[in-house]
Structures are given as structure tokens and as C-alpha cells.
């Protein structure tokens, strides 16, 4: 398996890089589809409806797909609008489960993987942008090394 962080997280992490992204792409066999990631991290749930309606209305082409990146575990609003979404655990849950994993490393890797997965031509941010979200994640692993099973 690959490490995606280095592929995608350059100087301006909000904008996808053009380096070779490895071989994963969820629309690999549907090259006509282009995507835009809309981050809605930390957005109040009652504002999501308006964001979705607005971004859907402004969607430029028929082959464009919007992927909303949320930290809200209630997916009803996205399903009601029949839009695609990805989820990252919110800061509060990261802190609650801080000892489970090295969150910052995971989320940076996860974001790199999402970029590789969707190959977005743009990333739009509502609420907290992805840089701030990643930077706010619990940094070091709280659990002791002996808590980690060895492979």
C-alpha cells in the first residue's frame, strides 16, 4: 500500500497537486467524470442545507460530481439531497478517542487518500478549512508503545 500524503500535500494543501497520484482513483474507468470536493467541516448542521443547495446550483457541468466532506455523523441531509459525501471524525471525537491512534498522522494520510480517490479538480471550503482541521487534530499518540500490537 502507498503513502498518499507526499503525493498531495504540498505547499498549498487546499489545492490538489499535479504529481502522479498512484494508481487508485475511484472513477478510474469513468474518466469523463470530474469531481469537486466541498469541505463542510465544523459547519452548523442547520447551514448544510443552504450550502448543498447553493453548490449544487452552481455545479458547472453534467459530468461534475460534488463530494461533501463532513464531520457530522448524521448523514440525513446529504442523503435527502442525494449527494455524495465523505466523513472525518470531528475534533471532539478525535479528542475523546485520542489514544486510539496518531490522529494527526492518520488524518493527513486520509486527506491524501481522499484526494487520490476522487482526483478533485477543485476543493471548496465552507467552515473550517482542511489545513486548520488537520492542524487541530491531537498530535502525539497518547497510548504507550506497549499498547500497540506488533505485526
Amino acid at each position: 500500500m502507498r503513502k498518499f500524503t507526499e503525493f498531495f500535500l504540498g505547499e498549498n494543501k487546499q489545492r490538489p497537486q499535479i504529481e502522479s497520484p498512484g494508481n487508485i482513483h475511484v472513477y478510474k474507468s469513468k474518466e469523463d467524470i470530474s469531481t469537486i470536493i466541498v469541505t463542510v467541516l465544523g459547519v452548523q448542521p442547520d447551514l448544510l442545507e443552504e450550502i448543498i443547495v447553493t453548490t449544487k446550483r452552481k455545479l458547472p457541468g453534467k459530468s461534475d460530481r460534488l463530494i461533501y466532506l463532513t464531520d457530522n455523523s448524521d448523514f440525513t441531509i446529504f442523503r435527502r439531497h442525494r449527494v455524495m459525501f465523505e466523513y472525518l471524525p470531528p475534533l471532539m471525537e478525535q479528542r475523546l478517542h485520542a489514544s486510539d491512534m496518531p490522529w494527526q498522522a492518520y488524518l493527513r494520510e486520509r486527506w491524501g487518500l481522499l484526494l487520490a480517490k476522487w482526483r478533485p479538480r477543485r476543493v471548496l471550503a465552507y467552515g473550517m478549512n482542511i489545513d486548520s482541521f488537520l492542524a487541530a487534530a491531537p498530535g502525539a499518540l497518547v497510548g504507550k508503545a506497549s499498547d500497540m500490537p506488533q505485526s
Partner: protein
């Protein structure tokens, strides 16, 4: 942690090895020794056995401590049971410091036909690698000792005495004194294995005669293999399945214990024989057991068994005398009370210690291990709900984390669990092959950061992405929980079972009506009782539930739960049922909608007595219901039957669904519920509703449901996960795998 003894064993062995280990642990605890148990998953057992119940009971009672491989342990003695568990190297480092290592050889190195049973050189080398000390070999009998090579491998030495099996005499009360019954009851018990039986049917019928006027033959641990071995079995053979409990009572009901095995089997000791002797049974064996049991048993060729039995039947005094010899022999040579003396004699254990240091070393919580619960979407949220049920039952020290494709992920986060969402290909319009590549990366990413000890997958479909991610970490213990009642179209997924270390099948009340492909795999899976998220007793009381639902006094409440309808149109059913229910003025319909339904179109109640509600878990409130009309998916079906809710089942008969019709048929024919099929019965909906709401009919259905004995399979799955979260694996060779 300072221990007198650290026991190291594959705790899944179902026979004498685990029983002998349990006796030693108990005897050590009685002697005041501090012991621990490190579980190894060795290569011998392919079946996903759980931990032996005797060993589990000892851990739960505190007689010994469950040891995590990372726990720092200083042990005066490591007692490693069964050489095969060291056929490969430990696949991880441990924190064990051993002063002395004894490996109990429960089995001869070569069997009677000269076949090598384990490579002693390799086993010793692996032991030395894992513990760094000399290996003392402890054969359980002269048979095992004699099979050892004259020149032992370097780092190995032979104990001067055999490590004979011990038995707790209190657990094996003597059979009542008195002469044999008429007909004479001959019996035996052993794990179900052809090798434990005489090779030829001629010998078998000499040993266990078919003459029902004179003999009754009782066999504990039989099975279909006996017909394969001998053909049709005599009518006087009573075959009972292998069991872990109730053996003393079984033995007490016998007059003679007669045990012969295959010519190609080499019985290292014969713990089952010891148990029979302890009970005081007159025991007849082939002559090669004489060095082990001396005058405690009688020895004969198969052709002489009947004659010997005849002699004892006609001589009560000889029978009583032989019975006394048997139990006296066990008391003198095999009593568990001898264990502390053995430890003292051979190893000078227990050692005197500073008691403060001992007490301080005892208090050590086990390190936290994470369990990654991964589930697919399904039409409903049953997989996720089932996993939450298991997660809730995990002990402290095991941390559940969820990764699910279910849109209902919130039910996990609402319970306070750490959860992640994985997109499903149909939800994002992706080609399955592209999506699988991504899924593999997503799972690997999560696994590599989370480093779970157990991966528990709940789904019917096994995706290549899951298989690829698991292949990256062979030490991650993986479990596939899949329900029964599959359709034939799901069969290809069965082949994916090999990607997992274990398959668990939650039980199905309508099991007899399951003819799906999983049925053929029963001998390869761990079967557990039906799993419920909430048990019937965890529901709200009726008054509280009706108060919560704001039900007016005197109303008859009917729950309507027909599923999302996305693959099987239930609109006609819903409309007809609603009309029939609401035509009755005392009826209130709770139209329960899934929080993750596909259809978000607003629909309005059609009457003040029709309420559309989102209720999860609806079963919590089901004591408020007087009846229900539901699609019999796994969860709803088992909830309504076990919760004794009088129910009209309307199966979703879509091709991709499980065999809901069969479940509903089982309920209908057994009087547990009613069945109405959309395409066959809808014109008669009125009479179905009339029957459903008839008080006598409801009482009858509830009463039938109340007769079902049930325990929650979620408890067993949680136990199984706990058993495997702290294992050392030797079931694969870390030295021989390619780079992953």
C-alpha cells in the same frame, strides 16, 4: 508481573489437553500459587473453536490471570502444553522472562504407523527462540517417552518422571454401588474422531455388541462419521453429541466402560479412561494400555470383551472389587492434590518471596487492545446494529472502533464509539473494481494507524478490497460474522471465507427452513445463538413505553415496519394493511420508518390514528405494541419472536434478500406468528388483520414465543473476540511468508 507459573497453551483444544491444563491451573490456585495463562493459536486446529469452557471459567473466577503478550512477566516456570503449538515461531515478541521452561508432550512424536506428529527439533528450536532457556520435556506417559529419540536436540532435556494427567476427584463422584443393569449399559466417550474408534466394523460389533436384549450401548461423542466408518449402526447404540459438560453424570449411568481405538492411532495417555476409572467403572481396554493403568482396568482382545463382561455380571463381588481398584488407582496416582508435590519435587516451587513485592506485581491492568468492527451497508442497518450489540459486551481493555458503509453510522457515534465511514460503490456510482482498489487502501490506512488486534467483519458480501487489506497484516486476527438464510446467488462469497481466520454464524430460529448455501459450511464455522442488539428484558416496561410513545388509554397499538421498499415494492401492502387496521376504531398504527430509508419523500399520516415515526431501536419500545406487521429481516424477526410480539410477517421476497419467506413460514407453521405474502395473499388482508388482532390468537402466539429458550449470541461473539485479542499466533510461519 511475577508469576510462579505461566501456562502457555492453545486454549481451544476441546479434549484432554485443555482438561488436563484446567486441572493443573485449579490445583495451583488451591496451593496458593500465582499463575497466568498465555493463549497461543497453534496450527493444529482449523475450526474456529472458542476457548475451552473450563479454562474460561478459571480465568473468569480469577484462578489464573489472562496474560497479554506484551505484559512483562517474570515466571519461575513456564508450562507449555502440547508441542504442536510451537511448530512455528512466535509471530510477535512477548514480554516473558522464564526461569525454567517445561513443555508437556501430550502426544507421541510418531504415531503407531510411524508417521511424524511433530518435528521435535523444530519445536525445541522455536521454544528456545521464544523463551531463551533450556526446554525440559515432560512426556505424559511412557508411550510418549518411548517415542522420543535417544539423542535429544540441543537445548532440550528430559524430565526424570512422566507428567501424568491429573484429575480433580471431587468432580468425578463414584457411581452408585450395586450390580450392573439389565440390559448391561456399556459406554464410552471421546471427541468425535474416526481414529478414536476400532478400525473394523467386525471389531466394533464385538466390543459394542448389537444384541439389544443384553446390551445397551451409550456413546458420547458420536456423529455421522460412525456411519461412514461402519455403515448402518445397531439400534441399541445410543449416540450423543460430544459435550464439555455432564460427563460425570453420563459415566455414572454406565456399568462398563469399554474403549478401543483405531489401529493407526497412538493414544498417548487416555484421559477419558482416567475419568471412567475415577468414577469407579469397570473398564475394559486393549492390552497396550496395561502399562498405564495396571490393575485398575481389565485388558482383553475385542473377541473377549463379551466374555469378560459376562464374568462380571455373574459375580457381584468381583464387579465391586474391580470398581474399587479403579477409583483407588486414580486417587493414588492421578489426584490433582499431587500437583503441588510434583512442582515442589521437580522445581522447588513455590519459592519464598517478599510478599509486598508479590502483591504489588499482581495489580496490572491488561494493555488496551482495539477491535475494528467493519460492516457493509445492507438495505437496513442490521449489520451495524449487530456489531454494536457485540461491542457493548466487550470487556474493559478492549476498545471497539467502527468502520462502516452504513448510512446509520450515527448509531455507533451516539453510543460513544469511535467510528469511520467508508463509501460503497453503488452509493458513489463507481465501478466495483475501481472502488475495491480504493477500499483496500482505506482499510489498510485505518488498520495501520489503529493497529487493532481483531478485525470483525459483518456482512454477506466479502469485497476484494477487504481481502487485500487483510492480506497486508497476517497477524491481525480476522473474523467474518455472516448470518444464515442465504440465497443461492450469494454462494460465491463463501469462497472468501479463507481470507478470514474464523467465520461465525449467528443462529437462526427458523434454521430447519434454511436450505441456503451456508448450510453446507456448518462444520467450518462457529455457530452462536441468534444475536439481538437488545434482549427482550432490556426493553422498556409497557406502561413506560406507552407513555413515551404517547399512546392514549385503551388503544390497540400495531407497529408497522415494512422496510425501505427500495428493492421490493411494499406500497400496496402498506396501503392495504393501513386501511384494514384503521377501519378498526380502537387501533393506533405506529408506522416505523428507518432513519436511513432511501425514500425521503414526505408522506403524511392518513389518519389521526396513523403516526409516522423514526424509532431506533424500535424494539426498545415494543412492549407498548399489541401486535406488529413487519418484514422478517433477521433482526426484526428474531426481536419480535423472542420478544413475544404477535406479528404478521410480510416477507421481502426480492432476489437479493435473505430467505425471509422461509422465516415467516417457520413462524406460521409453528404458531409463533402469521405469514402474508404480497403477491399471494393481499386480497385477504382483512382476514389476516382480524386474526392478528384476535385476543385469543395473540395470546396463543405470545405463549408459543415465550417457550423458546434463548441466550444472546452477542455474548459468545464478544467472548470469542476477547479470546483472540491477546493471542500469540504460531499458526503461520513468520519465517516463510513473502514480504508484505
Amino acid at each position: 508481573m511475577r508469576l510462579d507459573i505461566l501456562f502457555v497453551a492453545d486454549v481451544r483444544f476441546e479434549g484432554g489437553t485443555s482438561t488436563a491444563l484446567a486441572v493443573e491451573i485449579r490445583a495451583a490456585a488451591r496451593a496458593g500459587l500465582k499463575t497466568g495463562l498465555l493463549a497461543v493459536k497453534g496450527p493444529l486446529l482449523g475450526h474456529p473453536y472458542p476457548m475451552h469452557p473450563d479454562l474460561r471459567a478459571l480465568v473468569y473466577s480469577g484462578a489464573t490471570e489472562r496474560i497479554d503478550p506484551d505484559t512483562k512477566v517474570d515466571a519461575d516456570l513456564v508450562l507449555l502444553h502440547h508441542p504442536t503449538i510451537m511448530s512455528n515461531r512466535f509471530t510477535r515478541r512477548t514480554g516473558i522472562q522464564a526461569e525454567r521452561l517445561v513443555m508437556v508432550l501430550h502426544h507421541p512424536m510418531v504415531d503407531r504407523v510411524g508417521k511424524l506428529q511433530y518435528d521435535l527439533q523444530r519445536v525445541i528450536s522455536n521454544c528456545h527462540w521464544a523463551f531463551g532457556v533450556k526446554v525440559w520435556l515432560a512426556p505424559v506417559s511412557a508411550i510418549v517417552r518411548d517415542a522420543l529419540p535417544r539423542r535429544l536436540p540441543a537445548s532440550a532435556e528430559l524430565l526424570p518422571e512422566n507428567w501424568t494427567n491429573l484429575i480433580d476427584l471431587d468432580d468425578w463422584p463414584r457411581r452408585p454401588d450395586g450390580p450392573p443393569h439389565i440390559p448391561v449399559v456399556i459406554g464410552r466417550h471421546a471427541r468425535p474422531d474416526k481414529l478414536k474408534w476400532p478400525s473394523s466394523s467386525t471389531d466394533a460389533l464385538r466390543i459394542y455388541p448389537a444384541d439389544s436384549a443384553r446390551y445397551s450401548i451409550r456413546i458420547l461423542g458420536g456423529g455421522s462419521f460412525l456411519q461412514e466408518l461402519y455403515g448402518p449402526l445397531p439400534a441399541n447404540w445410543e449416540i450423543l453429541p460430544f459435550a464439555w459438560t455432564g460427563i460425570p453424570r453420563f459415566l455414572q449411568g454406565l456399568d462398563f466402560y469399554v474403549y478401543y481405538h483405531s489401529d493407526s492411532w497412538s493414544e498417548a495417555f487416555g484421559r477419558t479412561i482416567l475419568e471412567a476409572l475415577a468414577v469407579g467403572l469397570v473398564t475394559i481396554l486393549p492390552a497396550h494400555f496395561q502399562p498405564l493403568f495396571g490393575d485398575a482396568a481389565v485388558y482383553a482382545a475385542p473377541s473377549d470383551v463379551e466374555r469378560i463382561i459376562g464374568r462380571f455380571i455373574t459375580d457381584d463381588e468381583a464387579y465391586a472389587q474391580q470398581s474399587a481398584l479403579a477409583s483407588d488407582f486414580v486417587a493414588r496416582h492421578h489426584s490433582a492434590q499431587l500437583f503441588p508435590q510434583r512442582l515442589q519435587r521437580l522445581f522447588g516451587i513455590p519459592r519464598p518471596r517478599d510478599s509486598t513485592a508479590v502483591r504489588a506485581s499482581m495489580i496490572q491492568p491488561l494493555p488496551i487492545r482495539r477491535v475494528l468492527f467493519t460492516s457493509t451497508n445492507g438495505i437496513g442497518m442490521g449489520h451495524l446494529a449487530q456489531q454494536v450489540a457485540v461491542a457493548q459486551r466487550l470487556p474493559q481493555g478492549l476498545k471497539p472502533v467502527f468502520a462502516t458503509m452504513s448510512y446509520a453510522m450515527k448509531i455507533a457515534t451516539d453510543e460513544g464509539y469511535h467510528a469511520h465511514f467508508l463509501t460503497y460503490h453503488s452509493g458513489i456510482d463507481a465501478a466495483p473494481e475501481d472502488w475495491n482498489d480504493v477500499l483496500a487502501e482505506e482499510l489498510f490506512d485505518l488498520i495501520s494507524h489503529l493497529r487493532p488486534a481483531v478485525f470483525a467483519y459483518d456482512a454477506t458480501a466479502v469485497f476484494e478490497g477487504v481481502v487485500a487489506a487483510l492480506a497486508m497484516d497476517p497477524n491481525l486476527f480476522s473474523i467474518w460474522v455472516r448470518r444464515p438464510m442465504w440465497r443461492e446467488s450469494h454462494r460465491p462469497f463463501l469462497e472468501m471465507a479463507d481470507a478470514f481466520d474464523a467465520v461465525i454464524e449467528p443462529g437462526e430460529l427458523a434454521d430447519e427452513f434454511d436450505h441456503g448455501p451456508t448450510k453446507e459450511m456448518r462444520d467450518k464455522v462457529l455457530l452462536v445463538p441468534p444475536v439481538l442488539h437488545l434482549g427482550p428484558n432490556e426493553r422498556l416496561e409497557r406502561t413506560a413505553a406507552r407513555l413515551f410513545l404517547d399512546v392514549p388509554e385503551g388503544m390497540t397499538v400495531v407497529a408497522l415496519q415494512l422496510g425501505s421498499g427500495s428493492n421490493f415494492d411494499m406500497r400496496s401492502v402498506r396501503n392495504s394493511v393501513l386501511k384494514a387496521l384503521l377501519d378498526r376504531p380502537d387501533t393506533l398504527v405506529l408506522d416505523i420508518r428507518s432513519p436511513i430509508r432511501a425514500n425521503f419523500e414526505l408522506d403524511e399520516p392518513i389518519s389521526p390514528r396513523h403516526r409516522i415515526v423514526e424509532l431506533f431501536p424500535s424494539f426498545r419500545y415494543s412492549r407498548a405494541f399489541d401486535a406488529a406487521v413487519v418484514a422478517p429481516g433477521y433482526n426484526t424477526f428474531h426481536e419480535n419472536i423472542l420478544g413475544a410480539v404477535p406479528t404478521l410477517f410480510v416477507p421481502n421476497e426480492a432476489e437479493e434478500m435473505d430467505l425471509q419467506l422461509n422465516r415467516a413460514r417457520w413462524a406460521e407453521l409453528g404458531g409463533f406468528g402469521l405469514l402474508m405474502r404480497r403477491d399471494h395473499d393481499l386480497p385477504h388482508v382483512g382476514s389476516f388483520i382480524e386474526r392478528l388482532l384476535d385476543p385469543a390468537e395473540r395470546d396463543s402466539m405470545a405463549a408459543r414465543c415465550g417457550t423458546i429458550f434463548w441466550t444472546n449470541g452477542a455474548d459468545e461473539i464478544a467472548d470469542y473476540i476477547e479470546d483472540h485479542a491477546r493471542i500469540v499466533r504460531t499458526d503461520w510461519s513468520v519465517a516463510r511468508v513473502p514480504d508484505v
